[in-house]
């Protein structure tokens, strides 16, 4: 199990390409949708396409495939912004997401100390081409669904949204060319990567007390001494207490023979816990 995985979620190929190149991501052929990864860096990218329709299934498939005890999702993409409040190419960290079809907004936790300016975002169903005067936020077509889906898997502090203003909601599909979007992302790559690095540290604050090696020790003893479920839970608590007091010490090596009766098992179990307390 890897310690931590970060997953960038993009809608367009033009948004994905700069990350694939920058992070040397390789296509993962096990998925029938765009999924790229670099396991050495603990980072992946999932393309979800434009709009909400593929988001749930793709994030779901990806999440279930990841062998990690801690995952973070970062949605990076373009957004429309009103002419008088957002400059083209400007990068924003999103602190509020309104779904135009839902009554309750979503609030990502903003914990990472980043210099990126913040803004709110509205997720709409159809592209806005009339200047978007009715929106006093940025506008995209995926964020609310991404938040909704990701927050069913992980804590909200592990989900972030970065948006680059690509237009003033006054142009149609035909004017979004691959190269200009790619260029917007590349220009902001350093800031985005700086954020992603810092964001990673937030994810590291919430790891489990027991390591994989510690859990193997529990499992070994469970099997060897035929421990009941209640005993395993008690052993877990004792092991956590031990680990909190001794961050790097090894658990005691037990040289006790397997139990011959329930009474014997109970005695062995008490001995193990006593050794952990010592």
């Amino acid at each position: 199990m890897t310690d931590q995985m970060q997953c960038i979620i993009t809608a367009l190929k033009a948004e994905s390409d700069p990350f694939i190149h920058h992070l040397e991501l390789r296509r993962d052929p096990t998925f029938n949708f765009p999924c790229f990864r670099n396991d050495d860096l603990g980072i992946a990218l999932v393309g979800v396409g434009v709009g909400k329709k593929n988001i749930r299934s793709r994030i779901n498939d990806f999440f279930r495939s990841v062998d990690s005890n801690s995952i973070q999702f970062i949605n990076v993409g373009i957004a429309g912004g009103r002419k008088n409040s957002a400059r083209l190419g400007e990068l924003f960290l999103i602190n509020k997401i309104i779904d135009e079809l839902k009554s309750k907004p979503y609030y990502p936790d903003v914990l990472t100390n980043s210099p990126i300016k913040e803004n709110s975002l509205t997720t709409v169903k159809k592209q806005i081409v009339d200047g978007g005067e009715q929106y006093d936020t940025l506008v995209d077509m995926e964020a609310s669904e991404i938040f909704d889906v990701c927050s069913t898997f992980i804590s909200v502090h592990n989900i972030a949204f970065l948006k680059i203003v690509s237009d003033h909601m006054d142009i149609g599909d035909n004017n979004f060319d691959h190269e200009s979007i790619r260029s917007l992302i590349i220009k902001r790559m350093d800031q985005i990567m700086d954020f992603i690095e810092k964001f990673k540290l937030i994810g590291q604050l919430s790891g489990p007390i027991l390591s994989d090696i510690d859990m193997d020790w529990i499992e070994l003893n469970r099997e060897k001494y035929l421990l009941t479920e209640t005993q395993v839970n008690q052993l877990l608590n004792s092991a956590k207490r031990f680990r909190l007091k001794n961050s790097s010490a090894l658990f005691p090596q037990l040289d006790i023979k397997g139990p011959t009766s329930k009474t014997d098992r109970k005695k062995i179990f008490q001995d193990i816990r006593a050794q952990l307390k010592a």
Partner: protein, 339 residues
């Protein structure tokens, strides 16, 4: 940690809270914060999937208007104050400090801080209780710092001051302000009131350092308490929770003996004494999150849905510590929780 936004980097303001004096104070105090208008504080505070401890590292401020109920009956986990007219209210949800054993981390999903700005509504509710006590022959006591540490916030929000001014002169009623703060000087200019009990929670230095590391150290709390006593306030000392570490008796007996060399016991209104205990659901919720405190991985009993040190051990501990306290205080001044 410098990778985290500073405390109160964001202020979420409920629409209904706009225009209240406390809202204005908060917004002017934190004028560099990002302000977001919200419909209801629960849209932020009660979101699913929050991590209490991580949010505590970069707390956000939520300003809201409290809706009824404004006042609640006291929990059965507090000591018997010899009156049935005991209540608490919640001017603030959550605390600036983050003590290991605090039940708030099990009570709330969020580590963020909610300040209710409509104190007048809460005060009206108290007026109503004071006028209609369960037992008219006994005083009415309201703990106003139950799910927070009000005095710790005094430099940010002058709430303790406002509550003291409100209760002052109200006959048979008193408010208790429980704290670990050293900020007595923030209210030092107020004339002491018979209607106010200032309660300091004190623990031995080793316990303060290990389990209350975000609160002021023992010497600062004792200094504040002594200043309050010298100024003529009614002072309660809470030895609660007693944490039964391996050498608890030596640790606590040395602490109590030393404390009452510094503090004149005859000047203290009373003391409370109780071991660590917690609602079982809160405890289990906290333990599931792998808290970094050995308190949650020790052995306890469950009695009436309360996680507590087992009966024999806790009665022995309370009795032994009570015996030490009797050297400095009369028995009627020692309020114990034995259950």
């Amino acid at each position: 940690m410098h990778n985290l936004k500073p405390k109160f980097s964001h202020i979420y303001v409920e629409k209904d809270a706009i225009g209240y004096p406390l809202t204005d104070i908060a917004l002017s105090k934190f004028h560099r914060s990002t302000v977001l208008e919200i419909d209801h504080y629960k849209d932020i505070f009660n979101r699913p999937g929050q991590n209490f401890q991580i949010q505590k590292s970069s707390m956000k401020l939520i300003l809201a208007k409290k809706k009824e109920p404004y006042i609640y009956p006291a929990s059965e986990m507090v000591q018997d104050y010899d009156t049935p007219n005991v209540y608490y209210n919640t001017p603030i949800l959550n605390c600036l400090y983050n003590c290991d054993y605090c039940y708030l981390q099990g009570m709330y999903d969020s580590g963020n801080l909610v300040v209710f700005v409509n104190e007048d509504d809460m005060m009206d509710a108290i007026d109503n209780k004071v006028s209609n006590p369960i037992d008219p022959s006994k005083p009415t006591i309201i703990s106003i710092s139950y799910n927070t540490d009000l005095l710790a916030m005094e430099n940010l929000f002058p709430l303790a001051r406002r509550w003291i001014n409100y209760i002052n002169g109200k006959g048979n009623a008193a408010i208790e302000i429980r704290t670990k703060s050293s900020l007595f000087h923030a209210i030092k200019d107020i004339k002491p009131s018979d209607n106010v009990i200032l309660s300091w929670t004190l623990s031995p230095e080793t316990i303060c350092a290990k389990y209350e590391s975000t609160a002021p150290p023992l010497n600062k709390r004792v200094e504040a308490l002594k200043n309050a006593l010298d100024s003529g306030w009614q002072v309660r000392i809470c030895f609660d929770p007693i944490i039964l570490i391996d050498d608890w008796f030596e640790t606590y007996s040395e602490f109590l003996n030393k404390l009452f060399q510094e503090v004149d016991g005859s000047g203290i209104r009373d003391v409370t004494l109780g071991v660590f205990r917690m609602n079982k659901d809160y405890f289990n919720k906290i333990r599931k999150r792998d808290p970094r405190s050995d308190i949650f991985f020790s052995d306890y009993s469950i009695e009436n849905n309360i996680i507590v040190v087992d009966n024999e051990k806790r009665i022995t501990a309370i009795d032994k510590l009570e015996n030490i306290l009797l050297k400095f205080l009369s028995k009627d001044k020692i309020l114990t929780w034995k259950y």
